[in-house]
């Protein structure tokens, strides 16, 4: 070895990089005082002008939630959460006269997006992406509505969908993630404030990639988004989700729910780049990201594909899953998860094979550095009805530094003799010989590590839409460079 990269001052500086997106926009928020009871839920529902079935559903969820306990099985250390100290509703003040177009949007908000490198109109036009920007809990700007509505695609905020398409909401809400599902999903069902809704009608190929930028802003506001995507027969949609959050010291709870429904011959591709505030180098602060994501391939020949790049959050608890009900349906999961400093990630997927000839692929890449703890937890379940089902799972871990941990907890439950299930996992560090090879060819240690890490993640990155792939690589570079030990 020419030098030990861990002690290289240039690399130290890189590791020491502060969170780039850390700032708080001072906007007056229309915030409900902290605490949770039935009155708060009624208030949320009333503020959003929801039909009565929604309120009933929320109350039902809340009552069920009261009987539940926080899950303890994950390989995570979570400091106790006081659910009564969270404010469950926060909307930007200018909500009263909601903006009809970009010009009407609070300029301070737009500035925030600028700082994040998301010039909404610019980016939207250049990239051909419709952006439904969720700022805290209420959508404030939606673009490209016209082009989408010409194609018949409904892409709007969840609250808008509740008012405009109550029949779709009533039909599909909670059918993939029932309100009784788990502690955090149930909490979300009771108190969710907004999110995105997509409906792609029969035979329509969505003309552009749909995208939502989430951002947690007002301090002490838990975010409870709810996303519902329905791809009707023969339709196709690709959805991008990306997140950044400002820096602060207090842990914030984020418990979102995402439900996907793919009917016959439909395809849904859901991509996430998650870069929420991970806490500082001593593990203070950071977002708690407890998300329930699940898709159901309800119709024959349908396909759901999850791709995620998880670099942020102090704690990630997230298992995007596929229920493969339809014959010949396909579920895919591609993931890169990074745990640096004191980050903890317990993430993976569930593939439930019910229909005949269903197939699933899982590719998971975990990177641990600093004191990070990264766990892959996955379930592949083949029910007796899933004749000829196939699963292939690969999960690899890369370790950087002797204080971090990488763990794998795969569950495989097979009840069909014609099924074939394969699982492979490896764990290792970046080889000294690999580094030496690069260094001896004049590549700096930093570039070499970058190259090796990008190579390690390539199988996942190539599944990301173009602009996300670039963003993901940059994110990874910022999160990791110099961490090699």
């Amino acid at each position: 070895m020419a030098s030990n990269p861990q002690t290289d001052p240039a690399l130290e500086a890189l590791v020491g990089q502060k969170y780039r997106h850390g700032f708080v926009t001072e906007i007056e928020s229309d915030t409900v005082p902290p605490g949770l009871d039935e009155d708060v839920i009624r208030l949320i529902s009333r503020k959003k002008g929801e039909p009565s079935f929604m309120l009933e559903w929320r109350l039902k969820s809340y009552r069920h939630w009261l009987t539940m306990k926080e899950p303890k099985w994950a390989h995570l250390r979570i400091s106790p959460i006081d659910y009564q100290s969270i404010s469950y509703y926060s909307a930007p003040k200018s909500k009263a006269n909601a903006p009809k177009s970009l010009e009407e949007v609070d300029p301070k908000l737009l500035e925030t997006y600028d700082k994040l490198g998301i010039p909404l109109h610019e980016r939207a036009r250049l990239a051909g992406v419709a952006v439904d920007a969720v700022f805290d809990s209420v959508s404030v700007a939606t673009t490209f509505k016209e082009r989408l509505s010409k194609a018949g695609v409904v892409f709007c905020s969840f609250s808008e969908a509740v008012l405009k398409h109550p029949e779709l909401i009533e039909k599909y809400l909670g059918t993939v993630v029932p309100y009784t599902d788990n502690f955090f999903a149930t909490l979300n069902s009771a108190v969710f404030t907004d999110g995105s809704f997509v409906y792609v009608p029969k035979g329509v190929r969505c003309p552009m990639e749909l995208s939502t930028y989430f951002r947690i802003n007002a301090a002490n506001t838990g975010q409870f988004e709810r996303t519902l995507i329905i791809a009707d027969e023969g339709s196709h949609v690709s959805y991008l989700e990306g997140c950044t959050a400002p820096m602060r010291d207090e842990n914030q709870l984020h418990a979102a729910v995402v439900e996907l429904v793919a009917l016959e011959n439909a395809q849904i591709k859901y991509s996430t780049v998650q870069n929420w505030y991970p806490g500082d180098e001593n593990g203070r602060g950071g977002i708690y990201n407890f998300v329930t994501k699940r898709g159901e391939c309800r119709g024959a020949n349908s396909r759901i594909s999850w791709t995620q790049v998880e670099t942020g959050s102090a704690i990630t608890w997230k298992y995007p899953s596929c229920i493969l009900t339809g014959e010949n349906s396909v579920g895919e999961f591609y993931s890169v998860a990074v745990a640096n400093n004191y980050q903890q990630a317990d993430t993976g997927t569930k593939m439930i094979h019910i229909g005949r000839n269903t197939r699933s692929t899982i590719v998971s890449k975990g990177i641990s550095a600093g004191h990070g703890q990264n766990s892959y937890r996955g379930l592949v379940k083949i029910l007796p009805s899933a004749v000829n089902a196939r699963n292939y799972t690969q999960c690899d871990s890369l370790l950087m530094g002797d204080q971090c941990g990488a763990h794998t907890f795969p569950y495989m439950e097979v009840r069909t003799p014609t099924a074939s299930v394969e699982h492979e996992a490896t764990t290792s560090k970046i080889g000294d010989d690999q580094l030496f090879y690069c260094l001896s060819r004049g590549i700096s240690a930093e570039d070499a590590v970058n190259m090796i890490v990008n190579g390690f993640c390539k199988a996942v990155f190539k599944e990301l839409p173009m602009e996300f792939a670039v963003e993901a690589q940059n994110l990874l570079a910022v999160s990791l460079e110099g961490s090699v030990g």
């Binding site: 390989h75 990488a406 495989m412 009840r415």
Partner: protein, 444 residues
């Protein structure tokens, strides 16, 4: 946990308490036993809500009433025994009690001691207990139950450099026609520096087909301590009868450059579970695990292995294979745990399973938990049916479907069997598997 709260015990645990008090009230070691027993009562039987018991439900075991097994009048013709016959050092236990008449030992090599734990406890309870207390304390519920009820077993003590030329063969046999009983055998191995030992641990049930055969419960505990450079080869054959609950624990601690190799062959029992824990405490220590389990009919066979790499430069290799037929259910949970500081660990694990019937099930969970960075760890798991191209290949050469399937199943098992170094054991297992897989129609 069905934990007993505030003094009120479930009727089943109460029944265990009655048995315990009746049996051991005047036992010389009642205090030690009671400590363990109280811990058992505190925890109660595990339920599927406990992660380690997710796939194995003990409701049936818990609901049964077992008496403490009494030694049976020896009614076994030594010429007609079902165990491995050509071993020279053999200790036979009938219904959990040592049978001197059926046992035979070669003169023991210098520095080596092999004795019946029951005899020792009878004659020198204090010394025996002192020796037992030096062993690592019981961790799991069933180890505690064993510590409370253990009456017999084997103690093998090897001084430095001592070695047995011949394997030590320990046989546990349930006789037919006794009432529902339980036994809690214990095997303790202490192997000094550079000593060597081959241990064959065999569990058998007689009178499987006999009418009125009652349910029995075996709860065995094996503790192994390997000093620097000690080597042990361990063969475990679980061939209990079809109405037996079998719970086994093996815990191994290996010091520097010690080597431990086990072949875990689980064929019998109604509900069978093995917890195998290996701690590689000294650098350069090595563990090798090979396993084969073959649940059929409505058998449930569960294997849990945990390999802890505690010291640097430790290595482990694990290869488990399962063949599930009928309504059988096979469970494998293998964990490799690399402690912080255990650099240069090299751990390989593989779990391969054949699922041959639509009503059978395989649940496998190969886990890695790693807290060191300079390691090489990998695991692989597969579950599937017989390779259709291989079947086609054989059939196109004029081999009947049935023969082709039998060949492939045997070949699948053979990779575990062929690595058995002891010729006595290998020959015995090969015959056993041949009988199991070739003398009957395999359902397509």
């Amino acid at each position: 946990m069905s934990a007993a709260t505030a003094g009120t015990l479930s009727p089943k645990l109460e029944r265990y308490r009655e048995l315990f008090e009746k049996r051991f009230a005047s036992d010389a070691l009642i205090e030690h036993r009671r400590d363990a027993f109280n811990q058992f009562i505190q925890a109660g039987f595990p339920t599927p809500r406990d992660e380690a018991w997710k796939y194995t439900n003990l409701r049936r075991l818990e609901s049964r009433d077992f008496a403490v097994a009494e030694s049976a009048p020896v009614g076994i013709d030594p010429g007609q025994h079902p165990w491995i016959s050509c071993t020279a050092n053999r200790l036979v236990f009938i219904n959990g009690h040592w049978s001197p008449a059926l046992s035979s030992m070669m003169p023991q090599p210098p520095g080596a001691t092999v004795l019946s734990l029951g005899e020792w406890l009878k004659h020198e309870p204090e010394r025996a207990q002192a020796y037992l207390s030096n062993s690592p304390s019981a961790q799991t519920v069933f180890e505690r139950l064993n510590a409370a009820f253990a009456e017999d077993g084997v103690v093998i003590d090897l001084a430095a450099d001592a070695m047995f030329d011949e394997p030590v063969h320990v046989v546990h046999l349930w006789t037919a026609g006794l009432q529902s009983s339980m036994s809690h055998p214990r095997i303790i191995v202490r192997a000094g520096r550079n000593s060597r030992l081959t241990l064959i641990e065999q569990y058998l049930g007689l009178g499987d087909s006999a009418l009125g055969c009652s349910e029995v419960f075996t709860n065995s505990v094996v503790g192994v301590e390997l000093q620097n450079g000690a080597q042990m080869e361990h063969y475990r054959l679980q061939q209990e009868g079809s109405r037996t609950f079998h719970i086994g624990q093996i815990s191994v601690r290996a010091q520097e450059h010690a080597r431990y190799a086990i072949h875990d062959l689980a064929f019998g029992g109604l509900l069978s579970r093995l917890n195998l824990t290996i701690q590689l405490q000294g650098s350069g220590s090595h563990a090798e695990l090979k396993g084969l389990f073959t649940p059929d009919n409505s058998q449930h066979i569960d294997t849990q292995t945990r390999i802890e790499h505690i010291a640097p430069h430790t290595t482990s290799e694990e290869d488990y294979r399962g063949i599930a037929e009928g309504r059988g259910r096979g469970v494998f949970n293998g964990k490799v745990f690399v402690h912080q500081g255990a650099q240069k660990t090299d751990a390989r694990q593989s779990s391969r399973n054949l699922l041959l019937s639509p009503t059978a099930e395989i649940d496998t969970k190969p886990e890695l938990e790693i807290y060191a960075n300079d390691v090489k760890c990998s695991h692989g798991a597969t579950t599937g049916q017989l390779d259709t191209t291989a079947l086609f290949y054989l059939r196109s050469r004029g081999i009947s479907e049935n023969d082709a399937r039998t060949m492939l199943i045997q070949a699948f098992a053979q990779s575990i069997v062929s690595s058995i170094r002891s010729p006595e054991v290998r020959g015995y297992v090969e015959t056993l598997l041949k009988g199991r897989f070739s003398l009957r129609q395999v359902n397509p």
